[in-house]
Amino acid sequence: MDNRGITFGYGFLSQESSFDVQFSLIEYDGSHSYFRAYLVGLLNTILVSVIGIIFATVIGVVVGIARLSNNYLIERTAAVYVEFFRNIPLLLQIFFWYFAALRALPLPQDADPMFGVFFLTIKGLFVPAFIWNNLDIFVYSIIAAIISIIFVRYYAKKKQENEGKQTPVLLISVGLLTILPLLSFLFGGSSFIVEIPVLNQLSQNSYNYTGGLGLPPELIALALALSLYTATFIAECVRAGVQGVGKGQKEAAASIGLTPNQVLKLVIMPQALRIIIPPTTNQYLNLTKNSSLAAAIAYPDLVLVFAGTALMQTGRAIEIVSITMLTYLSLSITISIFMNWYNKKIAIKEK
């Protein structure tokens, strides 16, 4: 490297980055450091991955079960969806959703509000923002609710093991999640006002919304493409899992008098999950790594912000690419560890 006149070092991370980023979860502008820019990219990658994983899982489970439906129409529709979306390269799908969305969406001034407050325009989805007062107390109340739900579940399980009695855990959980935050409003001094996006004229023929929360179309298109693509694979995992449970299990469960709901919840799903989780973990990892295609449509993820702009401005290719690779590795390993833990938890426990 000395021969080629390339210097090596990570000192540049503390230098001023002097470029701006379109969308960031933390406060950032060009006067912050390259390290801050790295965090911006990382958080945006995590954001789109988390949104993608949630939607892919929901769509995947629904489609996977639909593929097992006895209804011909539902089963066929699901099959067509799976075959269509999993057989087209993801990058093309991202381009399709992005540019199709850009072509189809209205300009800000022509947008019809949905429910009076949501505006879906070519410049993004603008939703009302909550301006909080004493947000911390509200957050504490949610945390308190979650902790008490864990206790209730633990207690309910013990009670069932000892006395065979069932407790309506779901009902209690929903109740706790409603009542505790409500108390924070009534007595804790928490409150919020809703800020609705307002149309703002930039020039004679161009407008944009200000106020509220703006989600860039790049994020929406990317999350949509990633979830629709990955959902097809998850759907197949779900189908494989449910079909992998022997038919006799279902019949045996029914014969001892369990209701169809209980059969699914207590007999089929616990066994199916063991088959579903390992391949689904792979899909989550794929989705996270695929999110790096964001650079193609200007979503400021880790690759675009850090391995793109920052790399170009500093010329520190080796340092930046090594950091980026390590980051993706850590992200993947974190997801793996979590999913392996979950897998172990639901695995057969020999007693």
Partner: protein
């Protein structure tokens, strides 16, 4: 049959190696890049992924443009044939790494000469073949006629990883305007997104704006604002550490510009050998030993002018006649009111 071809090719290779050895001079011995280029038989040139006027490939894969002509000039000087160039299209992000990691030998890709690039990352800029500046394109019906009409919330589409991104920030910051940067890796996506209405303005070098405007669905609906917000001297780049190769590229470009200054073009170059002006005679290799200093023969500059043409011919062919920027502006010779001024070839 195959055996014969095989034997023939190895024979040719042997001759090529012998030829390379016999023509090697002191300078060539010092320059690894020159030696490798002569051995390979082609110049490895990094260009853009398609910027009309600068480096653009047609349907048959033929590259044209003023940036392309710099590489062709070097090929004419070093190998005797302007067509012996292997072009590698590079994104803005890949370009410097491709050069420092020895994938290409010349980077001629509308690249802005800045201190940090020149000094920091193992590169050397050898000259300027186009004086550019960053500008803005907007829709005509927006009513914006000057950069002073931009208001907070404006969204600007541009290319990722360029000086454009930094200038844009400097500009909007100095005006105190909050803006939304939308940066794409490839120019085609920037154009598509701006065309669809994602952004209020498209900002890049003015020559780039002029070239990309043609790609829009209705070029006449868009206008480039008059202001220029930055200096963008674009020029070829070589790896640091091979000063002979650096000199060859620098003077191949300078010869093209000086040829225009002295009125030498691809048509009259041969007849200029008998010119009364010693400067002209030196330029076409009829006087002096300029080639030897670079490790080349004395006809190197004549070949550049005959095969590629002078700078004016290159500009006219690639930029003026294609309707991109008919007016040469600062890229006119210093003798005609521009700022093109190169050291004398003597």
């Amino acid at each position: 049959m195959f055996k014969i071809i095989k034997q023939l090719t190895s024979l040719v290779a042997v001759f090529a190696v012998l030829f390379a050895f016999t023509t090697e001079s002191m300078a060539a011995k010092k320059s690894k890049t020159l030696k490798n280029t002569q051995k390979k038989g082609f110049v490895r040139c990094g260009v853009s992924q398609g910027l009309p006027g600068f480096s653009n490939a047609d349907a048959a894969g033929n590259w044209t443009g003023v940036d392309v002509d710099v590489c062709r000039a070097v090929a004419a000087a070093v190998l005797g044939d302007a067509s012996k160039v292997k072009f590698t299209p590079l994104s803005a992000k890949e370009r410097f790494t491709a050069l420092t990691s020895n994938e290409i030998d010349i980077l001629s890709r509308n690249t802005t000469w800045t201190l940090s690039r020149d000094a920091d990352i193992g590169l050397t800029f050898v000259g300027v073949n186009f004086y550019d500046g960053q500008g803005f394109m907007v829709r005509k019906n927006s009513g914006i006629s000057s950069v002073n009409d931009f208001k907070a919330g404006v969204s600007a589409c541009t290319n990722l990883g360029t000086t454009t991104e930094l200038n844009m920030r400097d500009f909007f910051n100095s005006k105190g305007i909050k803006y939304e940067p939308v940066t794409f890796e490839k120019a085609d996506e920037v154009v598509a997104a701006y065309d669809a209405g994602r952004c209020d303005t498209y900002t890049t070098d003015k020559s780039g704006l002029a070239a990309q405007r043609i790609k829009l669905s209705n070029p006449d609906d868009h206008v480039v604002l008059p202001e220029t917000i930055s200096k963008e001297p674009l020029g070829p780049v070589v790896r640091q550490g091979d000063s002979v190769w650096e000199d060859i590229v620098r003077w191949s470009l300078n010869v093209m510009i000086e040829a225009e200054e002295y009125g030498v073009n691809s048509g009259n170059a041969d007849s200029m050998k008998t010119s009364d002006n010693p400067a002209v005679k030196r330029l076409v290799g009829a006087e002096g030993e300029l080639g030897a200093a670079l490790g080349l023969d004395n006809d190197w500059s004549l070949r550049i002018i005959k095969q590629v043409g002078n700078y004016g011919e290159s500009y006219k062919r690639n930029i003026a006649d294609t309707g991109i920027l008919p007016d040469r502006g600062p890229n006119e010779l210093w003798t005609k009111g521009g700022i093109l001024y190169v050291p004398p070839a003597r």
